[in-house]
Subunit: 277 residues, 2 copies
């Protein structure tokens, strides 16, 4: 999916919602456990219930890997199901991978070819040659970690460079500009740092940003939109637990649908107020 196609999808659904499929088998509704593949059945039901309000789906690999190869089978079925609906969903492998060149190339192959995700989250610590292998595939995206929403973000991401005075996350933003462009790179920016979003937008006015969460993880949708929107929306805002685990009972799909719809309606208002529809 190209940037233009993603923006058109956002306009069509009046939404920039990303649903995080952090599908922990210990948290899904218990009645699904009798199924052959409970996690896949769960994901399928969530996708069906929310797809009208959602432009992106983001499984986090950890929840699948914790079950070994069986978990990866659930993931394979999930991405295959999403790929039957390729034109109306943008898919993100939340893997936060990164390694030396030839190894990153294998990760790129795994997620962008073998599984067929549109994009993959990547960690920046090892620099250019650990990231660029992910950028060599047509119509595929890297979503680079920049400013994360957790407490540990304060350990290193705000360290000021003696030479430039810039903070580490700004150096990551600046340096990574040379590796790709706004048509194959996006950035992860934690919503709790909403005021830093304007600093970030000064450096990258055109790139899409993946915002891991609003509400529970801090930072409101209004704030994120205020500082983060651009002329093609430029935002994907994620919600996981607030949608997929809002109910643990047999009504989990209705509840998920209602929660997704609520967020989509807020987003529609934001898009309208900013003349993006």
């Amino acid at each position: 999916m190209t940037r233009e196609q993603l923006f058109q999808l956002i306009q069509k659904k009046k939404s920039f919602l990303c649903v995080g499929l952090d599908s922990d088998i210990n948290k899904i509704p218990q009645h699904l456990l009798e199924k052959d593949d409970p996690v896949f059945e769960f994901n399928k039901a969530i996708i069906d219930a929310t797809i009208d309000y959602t432009v992106a789906y983001k499984p986090n690999l950890a929840f699948y890997e914790s079950r070994g190869s069986e978990g990866l089978i659930s993931l394979e079925k999930t991405i295959a199901y999403l790929n039957e609906r390729k034109d109306e969903v943008f898919t993100i492998a939340d893997a936060k991978r990164g390694d030396i060149g030839n190894t990153s190339a294998q990760y790129a192959k795994a997620f962008l070819e073998t599984y067929g995700f549109d994009s993959i989250t990547v960690a920046p610590y090892m620099g250019e040659d650990s990231v660029s292998p992910f950028l060599s595939l047509e119509n595929k995206w890297v979503i680079l970690l920049v400013l994360t929403s957790n407490k540990g973000a304060f350990d290193f991401q705000l360290i000021e460079n003696k030479e430039s005075g810039k903070r580490l996350f700004e150096e990551v933003l600046k340096t990574s500009q040379k590796w790709g462009n706004a048509d194959n790179m996006m950035y992860v920016v934690g919503a709790t740092k909403a005021e830093m979003l304007s600093d970030i937008r000064n450096i990258i006015p055109n790139h899409f940003l993946l915002v891991p969460g609003v509400g529970a993880q801090g930072g409101s949708l209004e704030e994120v939109a205020k500082y983060g929107l651009n002329k093609q929306c430029g935002l994907l805002v994620n919600s996981s637990r607030g949608i997929i685990f809002k109910s643990h009972g047999k009504d989990f799909t209705e509840v998920a649908k209602a929660e997704a719809k609520k967020l989509q309606e807020q987003m529609a208002e934001v898009l309208t107020n900013n003349n993006l529809l």
Copy 2:
């Protein structure tokens, strides 16, 4: 395995060799492809041929993930085979994982429990709460990326902190001291930065270091030993291609054995010269 047990294993085998099982199915000897699980058969043969000279095995997850769930099945069989020999091998999941707290906990579960590796490589960008979940399991190790051996290491790892004057990799070393100790943390230090090893040893005299490669990746065994050894050896030096892909023919096990033995003999000399045997 505890630090003391690892040192005893090093003394017993007169070796600090780690064999990297970067078992790319496109590079293993072709005659294995007729087997049900060619990669597992390859790994098993390599392990059998090299185990007398080797104290650690390090599969890199990318090469298994690139084959989807099938690749993870090969990995599961490999770690199970290694775990039948638990007392004479230290196992490393080279995964370079890291995510917010509860997600890192799932990765810890995946690799340290479900698969049963002794240790896992972890990326530091997201700070303490992305790393500490891996440290909550008894007798298990985190191997934290500090200074990597690739060109991209120069992008961020050497940035000097305006406040302290320290370089980023030194900040990672210093800050991570508070998260664990020399009995549950090790560090990845690229061999090409051998002269920086003494800077590193000044900060962490007692921790084990995983050195990704010598020779092909730059930096000699003698240099690494000179600057990196400590009173319990404190080094695990990895070799992948130079051992496992030295031959692509039917003699691949004999050749792997010979290469591992060569390195072990060099290491035995180093250990003797430093009064560690």
